[in-house]
């Protein structure tokens, strides 16, 4: 089946099997490998992408269901240098192995759009769908909180 998707502003069109998962389309057809796979059952959030502005688990969706959609992956977050959230993850050590990081950053991005000054508790709640096996979450929470402050200061 033909699928046409806009990912990070660029159009991708391909003929795919109806059973192809969206995450495989993103990784293997669009070759955007910043989106990861940690569980394939929708539990870990490593495959998180923005789908028409909302976060989804791209392992739970078929590529054909994304026909006509606009998707943003981690590669699309900042084409020019680092987004303040990315910078914050470096500044506050919000990652270790980096495997969960794309999903974490995108979840944080969506959170900060709707709630620019979240409490630590709200940040933790917002990360409900993202597992990190390395950090124990504390430095991730600190990173997001730091990003919120910096973004406010910068008036973003």
């Amino acid at each position: 089946m033909q699928v046409k998707v806009k990912i990070n502003g660029k159009e991708y069109q391909d003929d795919v099997e109806p059973r192809m998962l969206l995450v495989h389309f993103i990784r293997e057809k669009a070759r955007l490998t910043g989106t990861h796979i940690g569980c394939d059952t929708g539990n870990c959030g490593a495959c998180t992408v923005l789908f028409n502005g909302r976060t989804i688990k791209s392992c739970l969706m078929l590529a054909v269901q994304a026909n006509g959609a606009e998707i943003m992956t981690i590669e699309g977050l900042s084409t020019n240098g680092l987004h303040p959230i990315q910078d914050a993850f470096l500044e506050k050590f919000g990652f270790q192995c980096g495997y969960c990081t794309s999903g974490m950053i995108l979840s944080a991005y969506v959170l900060l759009q709707s709630n620019p000054q979240p409490t630590d508790h709200e940040i933790r709640e917002a990360l409900e769908g993202n597992l990190c096996m390395c950090t124990g979450y504390q430095q991730i929470v600190e990173s997001i909180s730091y990003a919120a402050t910096k973004m406010k200061e910068a008036g973003k």
């Binding site: 569980c39 992956t73 981690i74 470096l90 495997y99 990081t101 993202n130 990190c132 096996m133 390395c134």
Partner: protein, 801 residues
């Protein structure tokens, strides 16, 4: 430990929370993990046993082979014909097993056949076309069942399901019992769990027909050893395997057991004309991507009325499942630090490795120490209660004191440094122990149940590898070491490779900090490539990322190589500046003449001489400016049952935890969680903090949520993250960290283990806190996990968790 005045030129980077700027790729989604490598691969899928225990009567792959898009199929019996059996290390009974099932399957999920196809979807389809005839056998799941005289045997040739049963005795345990006022006894049970790295196992293999050699990309955690094990199993010379380890999405020990699959992929790659890729699914990972074994610890502790611990006897049953390569190892590691932080003079330990039809086990974060510390620290609280002594006080009375360091345990383990009493004092202060205790009494009157738990634990590092063979014979590997290459590049910047790999520890940053201070430059001038390439990297048999060895031997190798490079920089500069080496000093990427402020030469110019203008080199001097060094920890003793050290550095931590138990629902809420950590000198404190907290959360997951649950037929019931629950951000507490710094005298930088402490101490601390909270109900905690059902049931009926 080295003299820092001699080692370092500047102190601008060592000890500071330097940003991981080398790792910007991780926040941009640009890191290259194995699955991200683009090389038009065919895909591999595994057919796995549906039974936990069965004879394999027949495997027919013809229908699968006929499927369009299938390139090749391999079966267990075919693999067994061309490979050597798995090398066992710690067990003493004979047991024969191959990397793939042959003749018999021993756990649900054991690989029976593998298919390579044009894509992963076709490969999965083909699995359904493989016909397997099984003769189901009675599965043996629990230790108690495996020990029954008429139990079905996992390995008939062993004649028993107990593959190792060895006793080690140090000091006069009988005397300790005679002198004791009482001998406390208890049995503890710890379940199966795993630290489950977020990235599953991943391998790409390519066969080169001309040379019959293989190139493999894999997220292997111990490539130094895998080189020998894979090549030994395939019976090929090691130079016919090029193993490349790119980024890895977490390890925690679980990626030490990936090598059997490398063997299978190599064999399969011979059958096809393109590279082949296997990406393990999470279900495969949970089924057989290795676990920490479950176990039973029977413990006896002779004590005096004043609280003195006179001895410790442990009988440790370890349910090692069905992977003989690791079987027996956990018990020996528990044994190494069984006395914890206490001056217990007499010990006896019987280690039993039991084979069952559960999945394979491997060295998961903390390897046995979480269980041993859980049992010991629970026992300490039980003793305190029995003797009417405060749990903190009884620990103070028994601690190894700082003035006793270096302290040698009865079996020969050397605790080289640490101040256990001071760490606990700090923990009690930060954890507001006295206030919490007071609050506890008041809240109880209101029907609220809070409890405070303490645990102290030793966090060893730098595994002295020979110990595996303590019971079985002569070790293949001994000691611990690592290699490093440090070079000055054309433009005067520094390039580094080491034999180890990184599974998320920020090695590049830490190495950059050390080298920058050694050469007087900034870390942006140091590039560390974490990729391990067995054709280029300076690997040795011990190479890899495990046992907290980085802060010791990996950095040791980096320092030694940098010293060599530094010496050459000085020699070349002396020639260029026409000065004496003793008159030179480093600073700002230049070599300066000490008493002539204007005279200097840059690394770039020195590199130009070394690489480009080699005719100008002094007579007899070799061109180039790159050095290789290997380093070993010199304190490793030879394995000898009477006196040996299993680990070569010893950090310690203390956890002080306050929880509230909801007695209606059984849920446990954290009110305060304090970690005091002493890992000697910290090179990058922010990284250390992440390690300490991350590993503590592994312990909390194990304590409350994570469990591999099997039914009586040996079917694993927890095969997704919906059933095998992991902690999420909202369910873990905010941790308050405190530090103590007892520099390690035996590592070059005074640094020691930083990655496992939390996973070791947290189980016991939480269990002690929960028991303390439930003391009005007389509930005793002897097992994990502390699920709400178990908690409620204990309060209402059983009185034991």
């Amino acid at each position: 430990m080295m003299d820092f005045d001699k080692l370092f030129v500047t102190r601008d980077w060592f000890g500071k929370p330097v940003r991981r700027n080398e790792d910007v790729k991780f926040v941009k989604g640009e890191a290259t993990y194995v699955d991200d490598i683009d090389m038009n691969c065919a895909h591999v899928a595994f057919l796995r046993s549906i039974f936990a225990h069965a004879r394999l009567k027949k495997i027919d792959t013809s229908r699968a082979e006929a499927l369009k898009g299938v390139l090749a199929v391999i079966t267990g019996p075919e693999v067994a014909e061309v490979t050597k059996p798995l090398p066992a290390r710690a067990i003493t009974r004979p047991a024969r097993q191959y990397v793939m099932a042959t003749g018999k399957v021993r756990y649900q999920g054991e690989p029976i056949a593998a298919v390579v196809a044009e894509d992963r979807y076709i490969a999965e389809d083909a699995l359904e076309l493989i016909d397997v005839e099984y003769e189901p056998l009675q599965p043996v799941m629990r230790i108690e069942d495996a020990l029954k005289p008429d139990a079905p045997l996992l390995f008939e040739e062993a004649g028993s399901n107990t593959l190792l049963d060895d006793t080690m005795e140090h000091g006069d345990y009988e005397k300790a019992c005679r002198e004791a006022d009482m001998v406390l006894k208890e049995t503890f049970r710890v379940h199966r769990y795993s630290s489950t790295p977020l990235e599953n196992w991943a391998i790409i293999a390519r066969h080169d027909k001309g040379t019959d050699s293989f190139t493999v990309w894999a997220n292997d955690q111990q490539p130094g050893r895998s080189m020998t094990t894979v090549c030994g199993t395939l019976q090929i010379p090691t130079h016919n395997l090029r193993l490349i380890v790119p980024e890895s999405g977490g390890g925690f020990g679980i990626k030490l057991a990936i090598w059997p699959y490398i063997v299978i992929l190599c064999l399969l790659s011979r059958k096809v004309d393109k590279p082949i890729k296997w990406i393990q699914t999470r279900r495969e990972h949970l089924l057989g991507g290795t676990h920490a074994p479950d176990g039973i610890v029977e413990i006896e502790m002779p004590v005096k009325k004043d609280g003195t611990f006179l001895g410790l006897s442990v009988k440790d049953y370890q349910n090692d499942g069905s992977f003989i390569h690791t079987a027996g190892i956990y018990g020996l590691i528990k044994f190494a630090t069984m006395v914890g932080q206490y001056t217990i003079k007499a010990t006896r330990m019987e280690v039993l490795s039991i084979a069952t039809n559960k999945g394979p086990t491997v060295q998961n974060r903390g390897v046995g120490k979480p269980t041993m510390t859980f049992a010991l620290e629970r026992m300490v609280d039980i003793a305190a209660k029995k003797l009417g002594i405060d749990p903190a006080e009884i620990r103070f009375r028994n601690f190894v004191k700082p003035e006793q360091m270096p302290y040698t345990t009865p079996s020969g383990e050397i605790y080289e440094s640490g101040d256990y009493p001071e760490c606990l004092r700090k923990g009690l202060a930060l954890g507001e122990y006295d206030q919490c205790k007071k609050q506890q009494a008041e809240l109880r009157k209101q029907g609220r149940y809070i409890g405070v738990g303490i645990s102290t634990g030793v966090e060893p590092g730098t595994s002295n590898l020979g110990y595996y063979y303590t019971s079985s014979g002569v070790p293949e590997y001994m000691g611990s070491g690592e290699g490093a290459i440090v070079g000055v590049d054309y433009d005067g910047n520094i390039n580094v490779m080491i034999g180890s790999v990184d599974t998320g520890q920020g090695h590049a940053t830490v190495i950059g900090q050390v080298i920058s201070d050694m050469l007087g430059i900034t870390p942006d001038r140091v590039r560390v490539d974490n990729t391990l390439d067995s054709f280029i990297s300076p690997y040795i048999g011990h190479s890899g990322c495990y046992s907290n060895k980085f802060n010791d031997v990996d950095l040791g190798a980096v320092i030694k190589a940098t010293e060599k490079v530094r010496a050459r920089i000085f020699t070349l500069a002396a020639h260029m500046l026409k000065a004496d080496v003793s008159n030179l000093k480093l600073g700002d990427g230049h070599v300066h003449v000490t008493n002539d402020s204007g005279k200097k030469v840059s690394f770039k110019d020195i590199a130009a001489l070394a690489y480009k203008k080699i005719t100008l080199l002094p007579e007899g001097m070799e061109p180039g400016l790159k050095e290789i060094a290997y380093y070993r920890n010199p304190y490793a003793k030879l394995p000898n049952k009477q006196n040996f050290n299993v680990q070569l550095t010893h950090s310690n931590s203390c956890h002080v935890v306050t929880v509230e138990v909801d007695i209606e629902t059984g849920f446990v809420k954290f009110l305060k969680y304090v970690i005091i950590h002493d890992c000697g000198n910290q090179i990058n404190p922010a990284i250390v903090e992440g390690m300490a907290i991350g590993s503590t959360v592994h312990g909390l997951g194990a304590t409350f949520l994570e469990e591999f649950v099997y039914d009586d037929n040996g079917q694993l019931l927890t095969t997704t993250f919906m059933d095998y629950l992991k902690p999420v951000a909202a369910t873990v507490p905010h941790f308050e960290m405190g530090h103590h710094y007892s520099p390690c005298p035996t590592s070059l930088l005074g640094s020691k283990s930083a990655g496992e402490g939390g996973a070791i101490g947290s189980l016991a601390a939480v269990a002690n806190a929960v028991e303390d909270a439930l003391s009005p109900f007389d509930v005793k905690v002897t097992s994990l996990p502390l699920t709400p059902e178990k908690v409620v049931k204990a309060i209402k009926e059983t009185k034991v968790i």
